[in-house]
């Protein structure tokens, strides 16, 4: 089955992002396809490479980056939500005149059309976080 996954909560405060990660991992392990993971609302905060959680805790961003690399996942961060919350890639940082970027490996910034398209392409669009 083709799954689209939407992550609407940031890391650590809520379990939604971890649950989405576990779901994606389990689906891929079972041989299903994940057509896209879309990060929206505070979910965009999963895509900063600047988080430094304590060493004995899971690293939510790294989990996603590693899963993305392993399965060549399309992990898309909503540009409008990202700009509100300070998640920038190199291009956006330059375009907005900011002195740094923080996007983590495997994520890309794009528009909300990617969310709609995921809903169209997937057999099931599964939303995590409220």
């Amino acid at each position: 089955m083709k799954f689209g996954i939407v992550v609407n909560e940031g890391p650590y405060t809520h379990q939604a992002s971890d649950t989405a990660y576990q779901f994606a991992k389990a689906a891929l392990d079972k041989g299903h396809e994940v057509v896209r993971v879309f990060f929206y609302h505070d979910g965009v905060n999963n895509a900063t490479r600047l988080t430094v959680p304590p060493q004995d805790e899971r690293n939510v961003q790294r989990n996603w980056s590693e899963l993305g690399a392993k399965h060549n996942l399309d992990m898309v961060v909503c540009i409008a939500a990202a700009q509100r919350r300070g998640i920038l890639d190199e291009n956006e940082a330059k375009r907005q005149g900011k002195d740094a970027n923080n996007i983590a490996p495997g994520f890309r910034i794009s528009g909300l059309g990617q969310l709609i398209e995921a809903g169209i392409l997937a057999d099931r669009l599964v939303v995590f976080g409220d």
Partner: protein, 134 residues
């Protein structure tokens, strides 16, 4: 786009202010309109407050985007389902809601808001292909 049209339902469950969900839901609806899918919106729980008329956000410094709902008809979003029980539980009636209309080829100013029962809302949800809940 080659794929067949799908039925998208955006479920709005939170008050318009106090969190960003209502505003960012509306942003998805407006962007999504370009994809020519069958789109409708549902308002339940505190989400019914999103359609309240006479909103004034000056005191909280937030953007008043309630006028945008009235433009949804221009984006071919013609069905706004509002749950009756959610209205009643909050002491609201249809008189408290914005006037939202749309035009078709044959007719103008058709009301877009449809008051439905909780049971009918369940049926509406069951008939969708994609549900995004905010």
């Amino acid at each position: 786009m080659a794929q067949a049209q799908k039925k998208f339902l955006y479920v709005n469950r939170k008050a318009p202010h106090g969190s960003i969900y209502a505003l960012e839901s509306l942003e998805v609806v407006l962007i999504g309109a370009a994809f020519e899918q069958a789109v409708s919106l549902a308002f339940l729980d505190d989400g019914v407050f999103q359609l309240a008329r006479g909103q004034n956000t000056k005191g909280i410094g937030a953007k008043n985007f309630s006028g945008t709902y009235r433009a949804l008809g221009d984006y071919d979003v013609r069905d706004l389902y509002v749950e009756r029980e959610s209205l009643e539980e909050r002491g609201l009636s249809t008189d408290d809601l914005l006037e939202i209309t749309h035009d078709t080829d044959d007719e103008e100013d058709i009301p877009s808001i449809k008051i439905v029962s909780r049971a009918e809302m369940a049926d509406i949800m069951a008939s969708q292909d994609v549900i995004l809940s905010f």
